[in-house]
């Protein structure tokens, strides 16, 4: 305990986004009295990422409307923000980090919250193409907005039918832009949802005049003076004034890797978010962590995971014995559809769909035998909270009752008879 009350200790955090920022404030709440210094290569006051592909993309708002916290709130909690500063090295023996300009910063405790960066696939011609953008940062959004502004024909091709690609398509459509989504797999969202959800979203986009084509393996991009032509291996071609790439991420693990920290599909951490190296923690998208609920190591890209690991790491740094035991949750907004997900569906062998009377209100329940693994709730917060309750409590569900919309949607009505 003396450590956390000591004012001459320094906690250094690399990465000031959902993970790093929440860690800093949680540390103060836990009683850390020493210095807290957050470093981030991004020069912008830390902001919420989820709106980047949703409301913010097509608004005229400045990014400060999306700030995680006001500038004053950092000052109030005596948290130092070093923005626009790239960290280039970690030295665990000397307990310091090196910044891009060569200067060093010593730490007593280090937290790595470096997140992830978008993959730009090695498709011939893509790098050289005109107006190609990933979507991860505020800068990416301002680049996309600016390119749209100056583009005459505003034809957008999105490579990748994951949540970011689909949200981006829905948002841009609101601006009246012509959008096409190209997905390599045989269905969109194939790694994260059941076919019934893929079909629902495919039809949703089609109904909004956004064609979503599957089995489209983009294999070349050719650019002339005016536009790009995106070619797929089946011979189809799409014209694009802008190309937005949403095919997944690489974990920012190199700093940790070079410092000899254990890596496995991400920075490997235990249930207190600690790495295998003394006084070095890692949180958020960059971690490969143990989830006790599902009894396996996982990597997650979600606000929930970044925030919950931040709280766990803060408590651990302050001498408590917290355990990361969260059930993952996530959301996605497309057009007037709000999707809320809880749990992890990997490994399911049965899916129950419950449709409510109202149009476009339903939920998809993933089971492995009799064990509930996850719920996808569409415009159905009720299903989301009921699913959460069952996942936390572990009670068995009567699947026949669950599927029957005439059964009033309350946890007690869905219990399986013992």
């Amino acid at each position: 305990m003396s450590d956390i009350l000591s004012t001459d200790k320094t906690c250094v955090v690399i990465g000031a986004s959902h993970g790093g920022v929440n860690l800093a404030f949680a540390l103060r709440k836990e009683g850390w009295q020493g210095k807290i210094i957050l470093f981030d290569a991004d020069p912008v006051l830390p902001y919420h990422r989820p709106p980047l592909s949703k409301a913010y993309l097509v608004s005229e708002d400045a990014i400060d409307k999306n700030a995680l916290k006001s500038k004053e709130s950092y000052e109030k909690d005596n948290i130092t923000l070093q923005l626009g500063v790239l960290v280039s090295n970690i030295n665990p023996e000397k307990k310091n980090i090196t910044l891009q300009n060569g200067s060093q910063q010593a730490y007593d405790t280090l937290v790595i919250a470096t997140g992830a960066r978008p993959i730009i696939p090695p498709i011939p011609g893509l790098k050289e193409a005109k107006n190609v953008f990933p979507l991860r940062t505020a800068k990416d959004v301002s680049n996309i907005r600016a390119a749209l502004h100056t583009s005459k024909n505003k034809r957008v091709v999105i490579i990748g039918g994951g949540y970011i690609g689909l949200e981006t398509a829905a948002s841009l459509k609101k601006l009246g832009v012509a959008v096409t989504v190209l997905e390599r797999e045989e269905r969109i969202l194939s790694r994260v949802t059941a076919p019934v959800m893929s079909t629902f979203f495919q039809e949703l986009h089609t109904a909004h005049n956004v064609p979503v084509y599957t089995n489209k393996n983009v294999n070349a991009v050719i650019t002339n003076n005016e536009y790009n032509t995106v070619s797929c291996s089946d011979g189809s071609k799409y014209i694009a004034d802008l190309i937005i790439v949403g095919v997944g991420i690489f974990v920012n693990k190199e700093l940790a890797e070079n410092a000899g920290i254990s890596i496995e599909n991400g920075i490997k951490v235990n249930e207190t978010a600690c790495t295998n190296t003394k006084d070095i923690y890692a949180i958020g998208d960059c971690t490969y962590h143990y989830n006790p609920h599902y009894q396996r190591y996982i990597r997650l890209e979600s606000v929930q995971n970044a925030v919950d690991q931040a709280k766990v790491a803060a408590a651990a740094i302050c001498g408590k014995n917290p355990v990361y035991n969260s059930i993952p949750w996530f959301w996605s907004d497309q057009y007037d559809i709000k999707l809320q997900m809880v749990g992890l569906s990997t490994g399911y062998n049965e899916v129950i769909v419950r449709k409510e009377a109202k149009e476009n209100v339903f939920s998809v329940w993933y089971f492995k035998d009799n064990e509930l693994l996850a719920v996808d709730a569409v415009n159905n917060a009720k299903a989301y909270v009921i699913g959460t309750k069952f996942l936390k409590g572990g009670q068995k569900i009567d699947k026949t009752k669950l599927a029957d919309a005439a059964v009033v949607f309350k946890p007690n009505n869905l219990l399986a008879e013992e």
Binding site: S73, V303, K338, V385, I386
Partner: protein
């Protein structure tokens, strides 16, 4: 300008002033304990749960369906519960008193 008072779970009273934005953002920007606003204000996280002082429910109006649904199984929810990311600040909220809800 609207003056809004938060009463924390530790019974601390914090009065803040603003003219625009959501009540959640006001609380987060001023480090009001117990209001995290993790989802950024889109009714996905319920970390911005407050109880409106009973005499002030006319100022705030009623909770929307998604707010009620998100809080339905929350042991700390009651008829005065709101997700304060859904409360847009305006003159109408001047004098509002909100109790920050406990979280389980």
């Amino acid at each position: 300008m609207a003056k809004i008072t938060f009463i924390t779970t530790e019974k601390e009273e914090i009065t803040l002033e603003a003219s625009t934005g959501s009540v959640m953002q006001l609380a987060v920007d001023n480090n009001v304990p117990g209001i995290d606003g993790d989802c950024g204000g889109v009714c996905s996280c319920a970390t911005c749960h407050v109880h409106v002082a009973p005499e002030h429910t006319a100022k705030t109006g009623e909770a929307s369906e998604i707010e009620t649904d998100m809080l339905e199984l929350d042991d700390n929810a009651n008829e005065y519960s709101r997700l304060c990311c859904q409360l847009e600040i305006s003159e109408a909220l001047d004098g509002l008193v909100l109790q920050v809800a406990e979280s389980d």
